[in-house]
């Protein structure tokens, strides 16, 4: 049997610098949806969620931010992204209208397990969307994630890196 010769051809590459190899990665982006709080009384109650963002991406104005948002704000964001960008926007967790009907055995939309389910869905949604290079160019996403409040009368525009 003929001796086989291992084919180990390689192209030359510059060695990686120590800083690049062991330094912090350039793609750090962490978003948590946490601390649901129900505010208001009676029929005017609604639940808000805390959005915590930590990043080192230059496209984000603030490297650490915390804001409070409610479900309808998420719906607004999704609508804006669908209209303004070419992104295929992932779905939100369900609207659960049936939970808003009267005469339910449980707390409806203020039920703990429902809120937890919704919180998880919102967190998944945000992580999918915030990491999308095209969505990151949309003013509405940055306003939603980092501005004190959502101004629904804003002018849609594209963002370029600082």
């Amino acid at each position: 049997m003929a001796d086989a010769i291992a084919d180990t051809r390689r192209l030359y590459s510059k060695p990686q610098s120590i800083n690049d190899a062991y330094g912090p990665p350039s793609n750090f982006l962490e978003i948590d949806v946490a601390n649901p709080e129900t505010v208001g009384v009676g029929r005017n109650r609604y639940t808000t969620y805390e959005l915590r963002l930590k990043t080192n991406l230059p496209i984000f104005r603030v490297k650490e931010s915390r804001v409070r948002r409610r479900y309808s704000d998420f719906e607004w964001l999704r609508g804006e992204l669908e209209r303004e960008s070419k992104v295929v926007v992932p779905p939100l967790p369900g609207k659960a209208l049936f939970r808003q009907l009267p005469f339910r055995g449980d707390d409806g939309i203020f039920d703990d397990s429902f809120i937890e389910e919704r919180r998880q869905g919102l967190e998944q949604f945000l992580n999918k969307v915030a990491g999308h290079p095209l969505a990151q160019n949309e003013r509405c996403l940055h306003m939603f994630l980092q501005d004190e409040s959502v101004d629904k009368t804003y002018t849609p525009s594209k963002i370029r890196s600082a």
Binding site: R9, N27, I59, P133
Partner: protein
Amino acid sequence: MSFFGFGQSAEVDIVLNDAETRKKVEHKTEDGKKDKYFLFYDGETVSGKVNVTLKNPGKRLEHYGIKIEFIGQIELYYDRGNHHEFVSLVKDLARPGELTNSQSFDFEFTHVEKPYETYTGQNVKLRYFLRATISRRLNDVSKEMDIVVHTLSTYPELNSSIKMEVGIEDCLHIEFEYNKSKYHLKDVIVGKIYFLLVRIKIKHMEIDIIKRETTGTGPSVYHENDTIAKYEIMDGAPVRGESIPIRLFLAGYEMTPTMRDINKKFSVRYYLNLVLIDEEERRYFKQQEITLWRKGDIVRRSMSQQATIASQRFESPSERVQEPAKEKEDSS
């Protein structure tokens, strides 16, 4: 008596003179089956015998002529009726008359031009075959014998590497490099992907080989894409400055040489598709055409020559300490 044409009164058979020595190769037919056929190259002579066997030795066979044809044709599946013959040669073996006994006829097509390679694809087929025909009043008796033709090339004079910087602004910048732009069918793609900027969360990276068959002209052009290979080259998240090597052996895949605008009827082209997939299953890709060619397997490199090539490290010009080993093919 084959009064109604049921059952032939004669059998036709084609036998090549060099059937014992000529190489046979496997070729996949239209229905996916693999069969073996005699292999021919451009310029080779096709010679042999046509054997006519009479079923009933006593009975005479009347005929309007016996001939043999060598045909090269292109058949588009969506237009089966029209065969485009690009090679059509004929030799008359017998004038109209009658055969009293089984008989054998010699034929020779000298130095036949076979400009294209045999190809069976998704929407088009290019084939070469011999066809012996006994012309008769009601129905002809004929026999076809397919052969396979391979087109050979030699190492190209110019074979530059493919090197390009691509990406999404401020998000992902990579530089990819493939050592050649023209590869033979048993070659190795040696390359690398160098990461300049990584602001997305990459999960893994693969390189695909895509075959694109294009048929038709003008308004009705059909493209058939087929992913021949998917080869993962990286698993995990890279960072800036990281270099991922590529070593992809082509011999393991069923491919044909690149065919460009064959007889103005069809093309078969190959592309390398570099695909990066991020944590959210988003795909980022860059397609690059490569040219494939068929090398004649006449020359055998010596062991030391093979060892030199196999351990090659391609030095970049600015870092060169010694001259890189050059790949040489013996022409003898």
